[in-house]
Every structure is written in structure tokens, then in C-alpha cells.
């Protein structure tokens, strides 16, 4: 029983954080936001060079073979730096789905190799999401047709953009025709793949929300320490302190919830869905609170385009309802714990494992 990360995981995260701090400063995000595709091939290339796209591709397909637990750290970094790229959709959610296909199916090994190399963008159109992120810039799309999973080249899909308040979100509605040529799974296998993708997507967003919360807290602590009113830093006022202490507390107690869910998912735990929903709810609440108290402490400055806080707030508000809104995840939690004979209470924290 060891509910901590190993040195590999921690140092990968550390390296990624250092890398993003210099390579993805807010000024660069603003530039990318303003571009037409909203995506930077250069930044994506650098992230691939750091090994991020290879993170959870199996080693025999050219990847690093790390699992959901590593992603629970990495998605926090993607959120912390508000990376304007739905990279996790390709390198985490889609990679997980493709890796779960039987060997040889639909060019599985080739696709995984390209994911690892960072030479493919895959958008994923899960039924829980009414719109598809990054469809326009994708090379391939994973799309549902009932229980079926289709892997569809971009050229076969009509894309209608749906702009978001978060300029780095590039959402679209799609029109496409399913065919046997694009079908890569169906029936029970398809259902299982979509279910896993949902849990991975949920955790991907949960991790990003947690990273966003931490970033908004850090920005706000810096501001509160430096901004003076009534002759002293506003961070010395108890009301400001208590706002930010509450945010810090939420973040601290959301983290292990995320980690348990990631572990359950990596090990095929039967409780993975409820743990993932739990994680998304608490990470989302931490991020919303960080946004609310963040703008409150920033005062009018927080309401401007110029101050970076706005980018992180908008990402928070937008991501919160993606991969299932709160109602969806609250229902999953309620159904699980209110079920007849649910195994809850002391001693059941880690009970359900593969």
C-alpha cells in the first residue's frame, strides 16, 4: 500500500513543468489564441520532442508505456499552463482507445506509432460531448455511431465551427457518413471502448481543471502580495487570506481523489467510473472557486483582457461541462453510492481493485 508517485513519474512531471514554464508563457498563449487554427504546430512539435505524446503509447509501439497515473500529473501541467491544444485528446484518450483494440486492427500499431512520434492529431467525438474539440485541425477522428467506433480521416468529415468564450477551444459540429471501411469496433467491444474513453476524458479534464485551479491561486497570491490598498498589501487582509486558504484547501483535497481515480482506471477497477466522476466534480469545484476568488481578489484588474487570469478562468468555465457536465457526474456518483448494498464506509477506500 503506497499511495504516492514514484520517482520516474515525479521527475517526468517536473521536467514537463520546467519545459512549459519557458516554452508556453502567457504571451505565447495569447498569440496562439489569435491565430486562425488556434493551434501551434511548433508548440505541438516541442511537446512531442519532450516525449509527452509518447507517454502512454505501449513500449512495443514506440511509446513510454506509462499509464493513467502519470497522466493525472501531466494533465495538471497542461491545465496549469493552459496549453492551447487538446493534446491529451490524442495522446491520452485516443491513444488509450486505440491501444485497447486487438493487435493489428485498423492499423493499431501504426496509429500508435504516429501518436508517439507526434505526427498525428486525433479528435474524439464521444457521445457525451455535443461538439468535437479540434476536429478542424485533426488528421483522424474517432467517432461514434451507436456503439460502433469509427476511425475517420478528416477529409470525410464536414466541420462546422462553434466558437467558445475560451478562444483556445476549437469546437465543431460534424457531418459524416459511417461506413464499414471506417468501423474499428462495434457492439460490446465498442461500448467498452467508449466507456473507457469517457473515463479517460473525464480524468483528462479533471486534471486540467486542477492545474487551472493551482495556476489561478498562484496568480492571485502573487497579486495579493504585491497590490496595496489602505497602505498595505491586500494579501494581509483576513478576508483575502481566507478566500485563498479555502482555494488551497480544495485543491489539496481534490488531488488524491484524482489519483485514486487514475489508479482505478489504469487497473481496470470496477469503481473507475464513480471515482472518475468524483474526481471531475471536486477538481471542477476547486477551479470554479479559484476563479471566483481569483477575480474577486484581483478586483477590476481581474475583469480585464490584459491580465492573464481571464485565460485561465475561461478555460475553467468551458472545460467544466466537457466530458459530462456536473449533472452527468453527480448522477453517476449518486447511482453508485445509493445502490442497494453499495460497498461504502471505512475500509472500502481502495477495496475494489483488479
Amino acid at each position: 500500500m503506497d499511495f504516492t508517485f514514484n520517482d520516474d513519474q515525479l521527475s517526468f512531471r517536473e521536467a514537463m513543468s520546467r519545459f512549459l514554464m519557458t516554452e508556453a508563457p502567457p504571451e505565447m498563449l495569447r498569440e496562439i489564441w489569435e491565430t486562425d487554427p488556434g493551434r501551434s504546430p511548433e508548440l505541438r512539435g516541442k511537446l512531442a520532442a519532450q516525449g509527452l505524446t509518447a507517454l502512454s503509447v505501449p513500449e512495443d509501439c514506440g511509446g513510454l508505456g506509462m499509464d493513467d497515473v502519470a497522466w493525472s500529473l501531466m494533465t495538471q501541467e497542461l491545465g496549469y499552463y493552459a496549453i492551447p491544444d487538446s493534446l491529451a485528446d490524442t495522446a491520452y484518450v485516443s491513444a488509450g482507445l486505440v491501444a485497447a483494440l486487438p493487435a493489428g486492427r485498423a492499423g493499431r500499431e501504426e496509429v500508435l506509432g504516429r501518436i508517439a512520434a507526434g505526427s498525428v492529431r486525433i479528435a474524439i467525438g464521444h457521445p457525451v460531448n455535443p461538439l468535437v474539440a479540434d476536429a478542424a485541425t485533426a488528421d483522424l477522428l474517432l467517432l461514434p455511431h451507436g456503439d460502433e467506433v469509427h476511425l475517420v480521416p478528416r477529409a470525410l468529415v464536414d466541420v462546422t465551427p462553434n466558437p467558445s468564450i475560451d478562444l483556445s477551444r476549437r469546437l465543431a459540429s460534424l457531418a459524416w457518413e459511417p461506413s464499414s471501411a471506417t468501423r474499428i469496433a462495434a457492439d460490446e467491444a465498442g461500448r467498452r471502448l467508449w466507456a473507457q474513453a469517457l473515463d479517460r476524458g473525464t480524468l483528462s479534464v479533471a486534471g486540467q481543471l486542477l492545474g487551472l485551479a493551482q495556476r489561478m491561486l498562484d496568480l492571485t497570491v502573487d497579486y495579493a502580495a504585491q497590490r496595496k490598498q489602505f497602505g498595505k498589501p491586500i494579501g494581509s487582509f483576513q478576508a483575502v487570506k481566507h478566500h485563498l486558504a479555502d482555494v488551497a484547501t480544495r485543491i489539496e483535497f481534490a488531488k488524491p481523489v484524482l489519483y485514486r481515480a487514475a489508479h482505478a482506471l489504469a487497473h481496470g477497477g470496477a469503481d473507475a467510473p464513480v471515482h472518475a466522476s468524483h474526481a471531475k466534480l471536486v477538481c471542477g469545484e476547486a477551479a470554479w472557486l479559484a476563479a471566483r476568488h481569483g477575480i474577486q481578489v484581483h478586483g477590476a484588474m481581474g475583469y480585464t483582457w490584459e491580465v492573464d487570469l481571464q485565460m485561465f478562468m475561461k478555460r475553467t468555465w468551458a472545460l467544466d461541462a466537457s466530458w459530462g457536465d456536473r449533472g452527468f457526474h453527480k448522477s453517476r456518483v449518486a447511482e453508485s453510492i445509493l445502490a442497494e448494498g453499495a460497498a461504502i464506509g471505512p475500509g472500502h477506500t481502495f477495496e475494489v481493485q483488479a
Binding site: T160, I165, S173, M313
Partner: protein, 391 residues
């Protein structure tokens, strides 16, 4: 306690309702934080003024129709029930207007108020400075009296001036006594924004619009006639205005009752998905209860004002209640909208309602901040209403 409207009040309500039914634009106006929308809203204000409906409480000779506060509440109820446009000149009409009524000379009233009621002059407020936000007494912008005593020379910077980039005039506080500190030595002055030496730089808000501006004064000459109240008494004059600002008029209850009604409708239209989160139905009912309480409180206050009471620290409780209610209602709407919530008006999948709620949600973020942060308001309540000791 007598809760029936008089025949006169009923007739006034009927008149307003009928006028609005005939005049409220069918298509929503463009955002008043854009040049185009600003002028559309000015046009709308002129139409209101032509029917003496822009400032119903002002006396007739200044462009109003001498209504009392009950009639004003009735006007507001009909206005928001009709979904009429946002009021673009409220900073002038509701912050400066009452100040002019109380402290202006007859000549100043005649000069400024009818044009304000007609929105011939659009007004921006000049309260905050970069280092005087919550701490307004830290103002450093200077007004130096000319040697002949005929005019002031203004120097300094104001900020967070709402829509100043489009406005005609600014009102604000300037330090007219050299070497004075805090609340002393300030004067309340009015300046035309096209005067030589005025530079206006827009501040882009969260929503990408030019909702605010910085105003720089570089040896700007304004005649002493543009001073409201006594030289050096600006703080006293402004505080009366700030009282109004935090008080009832700027955020009339009907506005929040209309939002609550819209929220109930949004919930009804999305009930199947909304009920997956049981806290939503509760929040919807709370929204209605909160908006009703705010309206009831307004009627209660208006009744007491009519009997000679004065609004004190209660204005601070008002500010907290409407701003937090508004935020909570818009958060609830965002929860109900789910994945549609983030979409802009131009998104085909946004439907007809989502983008409006998103706009309102962004705007609601500012509620607990402007016109004195809610933290400052809570200090005021604790110290002035409850008598707790200053820190």
C-alpha cells in the same frame, strides 16, 4: 401596511406598459460596449426622453415627470418585464444626477440635467485611479486653480471609467488643495471629454469589449462653474453620490426578478437534464426567493423613505444581496446549459438563449467587485450597522 396600488399608480403602470409594448425594439440592440451599440442605446434613451420616461422621478422642468419612488418601482417593473434595452447613461443619470439635484446651483441643473435626461450628453464616471480603487481616498489627480480663479487645470489619471471611450463628459474627484491627504482638499468637477489635453485609452474587458477606459488629464482647463459644491468639499459631495450608487436606484429589483423568471423558464425547458443535479432545482427556487426578497426590501425601504427615514449602511446590504444573487443565478444558468454554456452567439449550436446567459454570467463576475467590493461592504455593515470596532 396597505398593499394596493392607487388608481393613479395603476394608470401610470398601464401607460408605461402600453408605451413599452409599442416601442421596445423587436430585435435586441447591439452591445452598448461597442460604438454602434452605444449609439443605438442613445437613440433608445432619446425615445424614452421624448415621452418623459427616461428619468421619471426628475421634476418636469428638468425632463422628468415628478414621479415618486413607488411610481419609479412600477416603471422599473414594467421596463424589465418588457425586456427593454439596458440603460446606457445610468452613471450620469443615477450617480451624478442626484448629486447635481442636491449640490448643484440652479444654473448647473438647467445646464446639465435636461441634456442628461435626453442623453444628449453621455456621462462617464471618474472615481478610481490606478492606486485608488477600494481605497478611493488615495486619489492623487490634481486640480489647480488658475491665478484669476476662473478655471482649474486638471492633471492626472482616472481609470475603470465605464464606456468613457464613447462618452461626452466625465465627473470625478480631483485634489484641489496642494499637499492635502485622504478625504480632505478634494473637489468634485465635471470635464468635457473632448477638451484639449484629455486622452482616453480603452481597457478591454473579459468579454473582449471596450467596456472601460483610462482617462489621462494633461493640463486640461475647466471653468470653475464646472465644480459641484464647495471647493475642497468633494468627498462629502461624492459620498452622497456613492450612497446612491450602492443603493437602490442603480440596481432596481425588477432587473433581478426578470432574471429569476428567465431562470425558471430555462430550468423548465431543460428539466430532464437539469434534474440530474438535484441542487439545480433548489438553486432555481432560491433565485426566485432571493429576487422577491430584494424587491420586498425595496418596497419596504421606499415606504420608510416616504416617512422620512434615511438609507444608511443598509445600502451595503443591498449591494451584497443583488450582486451575489445575480452571480448565483447566472452560475445556475451555466449549470443548466451544460456544454452549451461556453458558446458565443455566433456558434450555430448555441441556440437562442445560451450566449445571453454567458454575457450575463461574465458581467455578473464584476458585481461583487465594482461600486465598492463586497469585502468593503461587509466591513461597513459590521462597523456602521453593528458597531464593531475598526481594525
Amino acid at each position: 401596511m396597505h398593499l394596493a396600488y392607487t388608481d393613479k399608480q395603476k394608470a401610470f403602470r398601464a401607460e408605461v406598459r402600453s408605451w413599452l409594448a409599442r416601442n421596445v425594439p423587436k430585435a435586441p440592440l447591439a452591445s452598448y460596449d461597442t460604438r454602434e451599440g452605444f449609439e443605438q442605446h442613445r437613440e433608445w434613451e432619446r425615445r424614452l426622453f421624448e415621452s418623459r420616461l427616461s428619468m421619471v422621478m426628475w421634476p418636469e422642468h428638468l425632463g422628468g415627470r415628478g414621479c415618486d419612488l413607488i411610481e419609479w418601482l412600477i416603471f422599473e417593473e414594467e421596463y424589465y418585464a418588457a425586456g427593454a434595452p439596458m440603460r446606457v447613461n445610468q452613471n450620469g443619470q443615477l450617480l451624478l444626477g442626484p448629486t447635481l439635484m442636491e449640490f448643484g446651483t440652479e444654473a448647473q441643473k438647467q445646464r446639465f440635467l435636461p441634456r442628461m435626461a435626453a442623453s444628449d450628453d453621455m456621462w462617464a464616471q471618474g472615481w478610481s485611479e490606478p492606486n485608488a480603487g477600494s481605497d478611493m481616498a488615495a486619489i492623487t489627480s490634481k486640480a489647480t486653480l488658475s491665478e484669476d480663479g476662473s478655471h482649474y487645470i486638471l492633471n492626472g489619471q482616472k481609470t475603470w471609467s465605464t464606456r468613457a471611450i464613447f462618452a461626452d463628459w466625465v465627473f470625478g474627484l480631483f485634489r484641489s488643495e496642494a499637499g492635502s491627504t485622504r478625504h480632505h482638499g478634494l473637489s468634485y468637477l465635471l470635464a468635457p471629454l473632448d477638451a484639449p489635453g484629455v486622452t482616453i485609452r480603452p481597457i478591454i474587458a473579459l468579454n473582449g469589449k471596450q467596456a472601460f477606459a483610462e482617462i489621462f488629464f494633461d493640463d486640461v482647463k475647466v471653468p470653475v462653474d464646472n465644480r459641484i459644491g464647495e471647493e475642497g468639499q468633494g468627498w462629502h459631495v461624492a459620498m452622497a453620490t456613492a450612497g446612491f450608487e450602492r443603493g437602490l436606484l442603480l440596481r432596481s429589483p425588477a432587473r433581478f426578478q426578470a432574471t429569476a423568471r428567465k431562470l425558471v423558464a430555462l430550468y423548465q425547458a431543460n428539466r430532464a437534464s437539469a434534474d440530474r443535479d438535484p441542487s439545480i432545482r433548489d438553486a432555481v427556487c432560491e433565485a426566485w426567493m432571493g429576487a422577491e426578497a430584494y424587491a420586498l426590501s425595496a418596497y419596504h425601504t421606499v415606504g420608510r423613505l416616504a416617512k422620512g427615514a434615511r438609507i444608511g449602511a443598509e445600502a451595503s446590504t443591498n449591494k451584497i444581496v443583488w450582486s451575489e444573487l445575480d452571480l448565483k443565478m447566472h452560475e445556475t444558468a451555466m449549470r443548466i446549459l451544460g456544454a452549451r454554456g461556453e458558446l458565443l452567439a455566433e456558434a450555430p449550436d448555441a441556440g437562442t438563449d445560451a450566449a445571453g446567459w454567458l454575457d450575463g454570467f461574465l458581467f455578473a463576475q464584476a458585481g461583487p467587485i465594482y461600486a465598492g467590493t463586497n469585502e468593503i461592504q461587509r466591513n461597513i455593515i459590521a462597523e456602521r450597522m453593528l458597531g464593531l470596532p475598526k481594525s
